[in-house]
Structures are given as structure tokens and as C-alpha cells.
């Protein structure tokens, strides 16, 4: 898939919308629904591309006013420095309010224990849920997309969570037309996924069309990496490389940005958004499958983690 040919009847119609226009309109509609129906929404913001696109859509949805909600970052302590810098610059640029829930603080206080495998993604649940309780957030925007993984294919745009953050597939409400039901009991909250119907390619095409800035690590750059479980990982204080793991200099980029401990880089010379799109369109590996160790845990890993209150 390199170029597109629109069906003739579509382009002739002055009222045709491209798929990006349709997805954008839908996402904005979701943001505005939440603003109209909830008391204290918040956007989960990691500095990754999906949360950056979410913020871009939120800024558009309420312009010329600022979005009526702040940002929440669950900081694992293993984030790429480039991404944290980008997060802080973004917050300053738009005059937004940032809340940070720190996994490191929980570990230092003895409330969470480091896992033997060193990955901290599963440790995010408690700081996230306590931050939601402390600030009484009742709607939490996440950048999850239904194309990412099989268990996510059944996720709702409005996903009801109990007071433990748990997700029960049988308790999820049917979603009909464009009518979202956000009613919830005190203590419960709703996770909202405005990018539900977007694919990785849609997100990148939108980044290109809107000229959205991203952290530099999404584009090809020279970096010291070492190989573990078939992924290129970046050395760091999080616990790598181990004995026998050889560090080498490679030209790489990141397709997803999570923790340094579980996000692998891919060999790539795509240093512009157009080259990234070309690479993705030609790629034969799904985004998470290639680069996320946390999804490889088991066939049902994501489903289990959602039940626990993680995404």
C-alpha cells in the first residue's frame, strides 16, 4: 500500500469526508460529550504519540478556550528523558495543569515492590487509582486503540470501571449510534478512549496532516542499544545491560514509547514523518507485537491487566 486511489463517486461529492476527517470529527464529539457530562475529566498523558494526538484533538475541540481538564502522567521512573522533556514543554506551551503520580515514590515509601523482571508497567495501577481517588477524577481519557490487541477489540469508547479500577467485560454497556452513557456511581469512573477507531497508520497520517510535533525518539536516530528477548533496548539505570549483553551503536527509532525497560527500538532510517508512514504501510509486524515486552507475557495478558485496573 503506497498510494491511494479514491473511489470516483467519493471525490466527486462535495460533501465527502476523508477517513481522517471522519475520525477527527468523532474524537472531538467524544471529548465534548465528556466535557458536557462529567464533573472532573482528566487526560492520561505519557508524552507518547497517542496521548499527544489526544491532546491535539482536545485543544481543537474547545478552541479558542483551553480544554476544561488537566493532564495526568503516571511516571514509572523509567521514562525516556526526551519524553519527559517533551511532556513539560507541552504543558508549559499550552498553559495546562499537570498531575504526576510517581511509581518511584511508591517504591521508595515501601508501598510497591520492584518486580524480579524489572518491568514497572504493571506497577502503575496503584498510583493511578490513588491519583484518581485523591483528585476525584470521574472521566479519564486514554489513548488506547481497538486495533492494538485482540482483547482491546471489545473495549468500549466509554469503559466503566468499578472503585478498584476493574474492567468486567460482562458489565460493559452496549454502545449504540453515537449515544454514550457515562452515568456511574460515586467512586466509579469511566475510561474514555477517543482514538478507539484509529489505527497506527491513521495516527501517523494525522500527525503528518496536522504537523504535530513528537519526541525525537519516534524518528530514526543513532543510539546505544543492546539485544534482549529479540528487542533492541536502551541501557539505563532501570537494569540493563546485564552481563553478556553487548551494547552497540545502531540507527533506530521507537514505534511506541513506554518504559525503557520494556520498549524496544526497531532498526530504521525513517527520520521524517513521511518516511515513517511509508515504513509502517510496508511493515509486516504490528506495532505492539514488535516492540512491547509487556504484551508478550501471555495470550491473555492484556485482558488480565485490564481486569486489574490497568489499561
Amino acid at each position: 500500500m503506497t498510494t491511494a486511489v479514491s473511489a470516483p463517486e467519493e471525490t466527486d461529492n462535495p460533501f465527502a469526508l476523508t477517513h481522517l476527517d471522519a475520525l477527527e470529527s468523532e474524537a472531538v464529539h467524544i471529548f465534548r460529550e465528556v466535557a458536557g457530562e462529567f464533573e472532573r475529566p482528566v487526560i492520561l498523558f505519557s508524552g507518547g504519540k497517542d496521548s499527544i494526538v489526544m491532546l491535539h484533538l482536545a485543544l481543537k475541540a474547545f478552541a479558542p478556550a483551553p480544554p476544561p481538564f488537566g493532564l495526568l502522567h503516571v511516571d514509572t521512573g523509567h521514562n525516556f528523558p526526551e519524553v519527559l522533556r517533551f511532556r513539560d514543554e507541552t504543558v508549559a506551551e499550552h498553559g495546562l495543569r499537570l498531575f504526576v503520580a510517581s511509581v518511584q515514590e511508591y517504591i521508595d515509601a515501601g508501598r510497591l515492590r520492584e518486580r524480579p523482571d524489572g518491568t514497572r508497567n504493571p506497577l502503575q495501577t496503584l498510583p493511578l487509582l490513588e491519583a484518581l481517588g485523591e483528585h476525584r477524577f470521574d472521566a479519564v481519557f486514554g489513548g488506547g486503540r481497538r486495533d492494538e490487541e485482540k482483547a482491546r477489540a471489545k473495549e468500549r469508547v466509554f469503559s466503566l470501571r468499578d472503585e478498584f479500577g476493574g474492567w468486567d467485560p460482562r458489565r460493559q454497556r452496549p454502545e449504540l449510534w453515537q449515544l454514550y452513557n457515562g452515568r456511574h456511581a460515586p467512586g466509579e469512573h469511566v475510561r474514555v478512549f477517543p482514538l478507539s477507531n484509529w489505527t497506527e497508520l491513521d495516527v501517523w497520517q494525522y500527525i503528518a496532516r496536522e504537523e504535530i510535533a513528537l519526541p525525537s525518539i519516534y524518528y530514526a536516530h543513532h543510539r546505544e542499544v543492546f539485544s534482549r528477548s529479540g528487542m533492541w533496548l536502551a541501557p539505563g539505570e532501570w537494569g540493563g545491560p546485564a552481563d553478556g549483553e553487548r551494547v552497540e551503536q545502531r540507527l533506530v527509532r521507537y514505534r511506541t514509547v513506554g518504559d525503557m525497560s520494556c520498549t524496544g527500538a526497531v532498526d530504521s532510517d525513517a527520520d521524517t514523518v513521511e518516511k515513517v508512514i511509508t515504513e509502517i504501510a510496508a511493515s509486516r509486524l504490528t506495532e505492539r507485537g514488535a516492540t512491547r515486552a509487556d504484551d508478550k507475557l501471555s495470550e491473555a495478558a492484556m485482558e488480565d491487566r485490564k481486569r486489574e485496573g490497568y489499561f
Partner: protein, 449 residues
């Protein structure tokens, strides 16, 4: 007028495709998961790591070839039971079009899932087994597609390899189905003979059926028109949110944000605000940061009016000359979704566009058996997956259009005020456009589903 920005570079060329939302209906036995798996696989939408995972899982179960149905079966409970328990959304693209597929199970007690999937679909694929032809379940699927006003229906006659690829078998099934669906008011039926297992006519044309000259399933999905002419419909603009920056830069800005539910709005149009009945003129339109002279459904826009009216979320803007008749009495066809039955006397919340009001279930005059469209008077209640007529009284007048005119302003939800559950999906007005629905001879005592 084009809605794309900065055309010319590669990314924009890739982006200039349309989007089709479609739904599938059919049972596990009809080979629906295999059809969906085949669409994803043969359109090169399945990536190598997904295929590896499917191959591994198939081998673990002792299957020789990769079971394409595994591509779409997500939740552990389903893998254990070997059934699909909910609507799953799948995404794939060809150079011509982007697709969102609502994959709905065809198992009889899951009518509500097909209703859910069909509610946002522009097209429905109904699957039948060529050996069995049109069965009761097929008629149910056709009826749901008709009830939800899905504009295009595709009949996929599967397992043609098991009937010797015989043209007369296909023609008889296609004819029976088309006559039935047309009698329910389905505007367009396209029948395709396929073998999902072998791949005939799913993505690539079949080498076994040279008597068939029509499109493959994917070709049809790629070319069916998705853009309607919004100028045919009256403008309907439910206000979602009022934007008031109250900053030094925008001290008096007041914008009404929402998604156009139907029709076209132009700068200079006279509009009436419901329920207040006050009128004003559209002074400015904004499509996500771009000032425009004209906007149309389903664009998300911001509207500014010439007069300073008191307008809030839940209000509806409509052309001053296009009638909206707000009413507190509403008769509708509904699909009940919840395990707790719906009964006359129930006090519920009703969500219509951006407005939620209290409502009372006054009467349930009849229940509909989808398989033969017979009406059962005074059922006393509607259980989960039941479809029936309901008479409602709302606490405030609502500007509801007939669902036959507008899927967006004719649809509503009933919500349980106690726990917030979504109870019922509602469609205002009559059920089928031109169906001649027989009444049941005797009171019905058994299950329909």
C-alpha cells in the same frame, strides 16, 4: 470544496481515502469468523506476528492449517467456549478505503449485539450456509438490518464448495433473501457466492464460479457509496457544549459546539432554538479551527449566532423553516438490551442526542417475533433481546424525528436511573418502511429466541 489540508505530499495521498463502517451477522456454523479472518488475511491486513500467534494457537489445538477464525476471537471466555460473546471491532484498509468492522455474533440470544453493531453500520454482511439456505436466523438478521435502517445489505452465500459451486443453489437463495429483505424496506441487497475457507469471491474472484460476474465481497465493500447528500435532510444541530473563553483576547466569545446530526448549515441561515423557540441567524461557522461558510453532517463544528440567546447543552438548533415538533409523547420500536425486563410503569431516563430527561414507560402494546415478523399484543414485559413497541411519556418535550428520517435524531437510549445501566435501544416511529406485518393468531407462550 475539499476538506483535506495541504494536499500534495505522500502522507496526504495516503490519507485521501473514505471510511466505511460495516457489520457482519451470521453464526459460528456459517463460517463467519473464517470470512472475517479471510478478509483480514487476504487483504494483507493481518500482520506477521498476529499470524504467527494464530499458527501457534492452531498447532497447540492440533489443527493443521492456521485457523483464521482465531484472528478475531479475543476474550478468554470465548476461547474456552468457542463462541463470540460480544461485538468486536476490527480494522483494515485497502488502498481504496478504510474499514471499521463491527463483528457481531449470530448466536440467537445475541440479537442485542447485532442491533448494537448495526446501529453505526452503513452496510451489513449477512452470512448463510449454502447447504441450508435462508433459515429462521437469516430472516432475523435481515429484520435487524431493516429495523436499524442499514442502507446496504450484502448476502454472502458461504460454503459454495460444499454444494459443488452450483449456480442454481446460489440463485434460489439469493432470490428468496432479496425478496424478503426488500419487503422489509431494505433499499439495496447484493448477493455474492463465496467459500470463506477456500477464499472464493471474498477478496479474489473465484476460479470455480465463472457463472458469477459480480464483485467479490471486498470489491463491493470498496466501491459501495458511503457519502450521502446532506442537502436532502433538514439541518439538526444538538448543542453539546458552550465554549466561553472569557479571556482578554476573547471577552465576549460564545460558541456552540457540537456535531451536525443531519443536513447542512450555512452562514446567514435563520435558525430556531429548541425548546425555547427563539430564533437567530448563523453568524459564523468553524470546523475545528477553520472558519467556513458551510458545514454538513457529520462534521464537528462550532456555531456562533448573531443574537445573545440563552442556549445550553441539550438544546437543538434547526432551520427556522424546517419543522421540529417537540413532544412529550413518544412511540417507538425498541430492542431491550438488559437482563432486567422492561415493564409498563417503569421510570427511566431517556437519552436523546445531547439531552437526558426523565421518562415513564406507559405501555408496551406489542412484541415482535423477528423470525416471522408476527406481533404479539400486550406481552406484559420485554426481556433481553426482545424487540417491541413502547409508548413513553417524557418529563420535558423532546424534538425527536422519526428514525426512518434520521438515525441520529430518531434514536435514543433508556437508562436505569438507579445504577446507570443502558436498558433499551429505541427508534422513534414505525418499525418497517413497507412491511406487511401479520398479527399473531394466538397469544404466544414460548420463547422467540
Amino acid at each position: 470544496m475539499s476538506t483535506t489540508a495541504g494536499a500534495g505530499h505522500a502522507a496526504e495521498a495516503l490519507a485521501a481515502t473514505s471510511l466505511l463502517r460495516f457489520a457482519t451477522a451470521g453464526s459460528v456454523d456459517d463460517g463467519k469468523s473464517t470470512l472475517v479472518g479471510r478478509l483480514l488475511h487476504d487483504s494483507k491486513s493481518v500482520l506477521s506476528d498476529q499470524l504467527e500467534a494464530v499458527s501457534r494457537a492452531s498447532q497447540a489445538r492440533g489443527q493443521e492449517a492456521p485457523d483464521l477464525a482465531l484472528l478475531t476471537d479475543g476474550l478468554r471466555a470465548e476461547r474456552e467456549q468457542g463462541i463470540t460473546i460480544d461485538v468486536a471491532y476490527r480494522y483494515f484498509a485497502t488502498p481504496r478505503r478504510r474499514f471499521i468492522l463491527a463483528d457481531t455474533p449470530g448466536h440467537v440470544q445475541y440479537t442485542r449485539n447485532m442491533v448494537t453493531g448495526a446501529s453505526t453500520a452503513e452496510l451489513a454482511v449477512v452470512l448463510v450456509d449454502a447447504r441450508n439456505g435462508v433459515v429462521e436466523q437469516t430472516r432475523r438478521h435481515a429484520a435487524v438490518a431493516a429495523l436499524l435502517r442499514v442502507p446496504h445489505v450484502v448476502l454472502a452465500v458461504n460454503k459454495m464448495d460444499l454444494v459443488g459451486y452450483a449456480e442454481d443453489v446460489f440463485a434460489a437463495i439469493a432470490d428468496e433473501f432479496s425478496r424478503y429483505a426488500t419487503s422489509l424496506g431494505v433499499p439495496e441487497v447484493t448477493a455474492v457466492p463465496i467459500s470463506a475457507l477456500e477464499g472464493d469471491n471474498v477478496v479474489a474472484p473465484s476460479a470455480h464460479m465463472d457463472w458469477y460476474s459480480g464483485p467479490t465481497v471486498l470489491e463491493h465493500l470498496e466501491t459501495v457509496p458511503v457519502t450521502h447528500d446532506p442537502t436532502d435532510d433538514p439541518a439538526r444541530f444538538p448543542v453539546q457544549y458552550v465554549i466561553r473563553p472569557q479571556t482578554a483576547e476573547h471577552p465576549d466569545y460564545r460558541g456552540y459546539a457540537g456535531q451536525l446530526a443531519s443536513g447542512v448549515l450555512r452562514v446567514g441561515d435563520r435558525v430556531t432554538v429548541h425548546p425555547s423557540g427563539r430564533s437567530s441567524t448563523v453568524e459564523a461557522l468553524d470546523v475545528l479551527g477553520r472558519p467556513v461558510d458551510v458545514a454538513w453532517a457529520p462534521q464537528s463544528i462550532t456555531v456562533r449566532l448573531a443574537d445573545d440567546l440563552d442556549i445550553s447543552r441539550g438544546d437543538l438548533l434547526a432551520p427556522a423553516d424546517a419543522s421540529v415538533r417537540p413532544s412529550q409523547d413518544l412511540t417507538a420500536t425498541v430492542c431491550h438490551l438488559h437482563d432486567r425486563p422492561l415493564r409498563p410503569g417503569d421510570r427511566v431516563l431517556l437519552k436523546h442526542t445531547t439531552r437526558t430527561v426523565k421518562a415513564l414507560v406507559k405501555e408496551i402494546p406489542s412484541r415482535l417475533t423477528l423470525a416471522d415478523l408476527s406481533q404479539h399484543p400486550e406481552p406484559g414485559e420485554l426481556a433481553a433481546n426482545d424487540i417491541g413497541r413502547v409508548v413513553l411519556r417524557t418529563a420535558e418535550p423532546l424534538p425527536v424525528d422519526p428514525y426512518t428520517d434520521s438515525r441520529r435524531t430518531g434514536s435514543f437510549l433508556l437508562i436505569d436511573p438507579a445504577d446507570g445501566s443502558t436498558l433499551t435501544a429505541g427508534m422513534a416511529g414505525g418499525a418497517f418502511a413497507d412491511a406487511d406485518i401479520p398479527a399473531a393468531e394466538a397469544p404466544d407462550s414460548g420463547w422467540d429466541f
